[in-house]
């Protein structure tokens, strides 16, 4: 029996009792609607987290930090200059730029996480960062007032500093800090500018509690160090971030002669790694809602199964007649399976439409991030077909296995 004929028969049977067909679909509609919304909300919040992270991290760079272990000696992890290992060098930076494919630029960074900063009688304990002018670009961090560190500042070991909003408030209150002279660990610096507000870091620290100075000044004038605290690597193709990160780690291991079981004296972090951590919370929510929609789909499937069983009972005589005029068991099976599938797929289509509407309403009326995607629609399609088959098989089998003589005798 041809597929087109099977579908025609299914349509005839389903349109004969439209109200019942619709009620049968209801569970699937609810399940697929919620499924669509869940996927959209899940993807929306992931995009939101990624967006927030890229604001914090700038244009998706890889961060190589000197230290052992996965979390690194980043801000707030240790105190003082060079608390981590002191093995990360300018030569490493050169090697990364030259030898690792897909690297656009590598920038050095230095950090003292326990510095005293003074302005007149006011003292603050904060972090001091030694950076190059491109810091502003790769962290996409604007200057609120004044100017950022220039190439000349770096070349001339200039004693200029940019202060974060928190430091500015602690030392200057409401006064304008630009042009004032502050002392960083007892060395005089001129405040060249104030950085824009950045807020909390992914780890929960205050990103505005910092002072930024030229890296050369940091290394040769202030603290006299020859190593680097971190290297920020910008990429040509961001989609190959994981691969490039691995290549950097491999190169550094070679250069630092690290063979297992010796632990790495550096860590390579990518924003995507952070996305996973961040997404954890929304994933819990998505999982919970996913269970809800799974239950709805299960109930919807059971409703289909029940109604199909009732339908088989009502149409026993029709089944007998069809068998008598030559329908094989598999023809009857196909007919009833097609009906169950048609119900669930139609329910799925309605569910997706309602889901899109729901996503639209969520976005219009609440702050919930939700993004409609083809993945949600594919998932809905797959689920409705699977539900139709799983719960349609049993009634269809019952219909197919009816004895034609018995079926014809039924009133």
């Amino acid at each position: 029996m041809k597929t087109s004929l099977v579908l025609k028969e299914a349509r005839r049977a389903l349109s004969a009792n439209k109200v019942r067909t619709f009620l049968t679909m209801l569970g699937i509609i609810v399940g697929i609607t919620s499924l669509t919304i869940i996927v959209a909300v899940g993807q929306g919040s992931k995009a939101q987290v990624t967006g927030r992270l890229s604001k914090l991290w700038g244009t998706n760079p890889i961060m190589v930090t000197a230290s052992a272990g996965g979390r690194g000696a980043g801000p707030h992890m240790g105190m003082g200059v060079g608390v981590g290992s002191q093995t990360l060098t300018d030569e490493d930076l050169q090697a990364i730029e030259k030898e690792v494919p897909n690297v656009r630029k590598a920038s050095p960074g230095l950090l003292n996480s326990d510095a005293q900063v003074k302005f007149r009688q006011q003292t603050a304990t904060t972090e001091v960062f030694g950076v190059t002018p491109e810091f502003r670009e790769y962290r996409s961090w604007d200057v609120d007032s004044g100017d950022f560190i220039s190439e000349e500042d770096v070349r001339g070991l200039a004693r200029v500093a940019l202060i974060g909003q928190t430091v500015a408030r602690e030392l200057f209150g409401d006064a304008d800090p630009v042009g004032a002279t502050i002392r960083i660990d007892n060395v005089a610096f001129k405040v060249k500018g104030v950085m824009a507000r950045k807020g909390a870091s992914p780890e929960g620290g205050d990103l505005d509690d910092r002072v930024t100075i030229p890296i050369s000044t940091f290394a040769r004038r202030l603290y006299n160090v020859t190593y680097l605290s971190n290297i920020v690597v910008q990429l040509q193709d961001v989609s190959r971030m994981q691969e490039t990160g691995a290549a950097i780690a491999k190169l550094l291991r070679e250069r630092h002669h690290i063979v297992p079981p010796k632990q790495d004296d550096f860590s390579v972090r990518t924003p995507q790694g952070m996305v996973t951590v961040f997404a954890g919370t929304t994933q819990t929510l998505t999982l919970f809602l996913g269970i809800v929609s799974t239950i709805a789909l299960l109930v919807g499937g059971l409703v289909i199964m029940n109604i199909m069983l009732v339908s088989v009972g009502e149409r026993t005589r029709e089944i007998g007649l069809r068998r008598a005029v030559g329908a094989r068991r598999r023809d009857i099976l196909a007919q009833f399976l097609a009906e169950a599938l048609a119900i669930s797929v139609m329910g799925g289509v309605i569910g997706v439409v309602l889901g899109i509407l729901g996503v639209w309403m969520l976005r219009a009326m609440t702050q919930t991030p939700a993004v409609m995607s083809w993945q949600a629609i594919v998932l809905a399609a797959v689920f409705s077909v699977v539900v139709g088959i799983i719960f349609g098989v049993q009634p269809a089998r019952r219909a197919a296995l009816l004895d034609p003589v018995e079926a014809l005798r039924t009133e």
């Binding site: 069809r322 005029v325 030559g326 068991r329």
Partner: protein, 242 residues
């Protein structure tokens, strides 16, 4: 022979009790015959009809239909035989209510190899005098008309045997005679017709009557002077025709 049964038996197990519904029946029906199988209820004629219709298979014995040994076929092949070699007509018509007359006639084509183009079904309807009712739904037709649609459905695949089970049982006298008239005409055109009934008067339209009692054939005789349904219709008092 069109239809040949040798020592056919069909037994049922009813609660441990062995029931022989058909008990050693040997029957031969040639092409172009018109045979009535007659017996009271419980005589085994329904079981025999199911066996002839290939809806059921013998417990023992052999049954050949149009050269095919039916007893050895699996379910798929039995379905094919029903589709291509048997035209079934039931007492209760068994039309599908959500299909038009034409679609009902076409139903067996769904499960066969023949092309479905509507023309065969239309000419089958014309053969039973309902060419102008093809778009009607079953509930818009009288009982007699519904039964004629069912006959058209039985004819659609050009079967070896037309098998009718009490085809006049639910009809008034006139409609019943009209149906019998169609069977007689089909038989004159060369069709093999087997009629199962408990009414002697209906059976006498056939040219041969097989009597069955307790699962056995008790008489098998030709009818000397078959009734002519056409003549009987002419003698009926005039009625307002629909």
């Amino acid at each position: 022979m069109m239809l040949e049964m040798q020592e056919v038996t069909r037994t049922y197990d009813l609660g441990g009790q062995h029931v022989r519904a058909v008990n050693g029946v040997s029957l031969q029906i040639g092409a172009g015959e018109f045979v009535a199988i007659v017996g009271p209820s419980g005589s085994g004629k329904s079981t025999l009809m199911n066996l002839i219709a290939c809806l059921d298979t013998p417990t023992s014995g052999t049954y050949r239909l149009d050269g095919v040994e039916v007893g050895k076929l699996d379910d798929d092949h039995l379905s094919q035989v029903r589709n291509s070699k048997i035209g079934l007509v039931f007492q209760s018509y068994n039309l599908l209510p959500r299909m038009t007359a034409l679609e009902n006639v076409e139903l067996p084509l769904l499960y066969g190899t023949r092309h479905q183009d509507g023309k065969a079904a239309q000419s089958a309807l014309e053969a039973v005098g309902l060419g102008d009712r093809s778009r009607h739904w079953p509930n818009q037709l009288s009982g007699g008309q519904q039964q004629r649609v069912a006959i058209a459905r039985a004819l659609i695949n050009d079967p070896a045997v037309i098998l009718a089970d009490e085809p006049t049982g639910a009809l008034d006298t006139r409609s019943g005679l009209e149906v019998m008239d169609i069977f007689q005409r089909l038989n004159r055109e060369g069709r093999t017709v087997v009629l199962v009934t408990h009414e002697q008067a209906i059976a006498e339209h056939a040219r041969r009557v097989v009597n069955i009692r307790d699962g056995r054939i008790v008489a098998d005789e030709p009818v000397a002077h078959p009734r002519e349904a056409g003549e009987e219709l002419a003698k009926l008092p005039q009625e307002v025709r629909d």
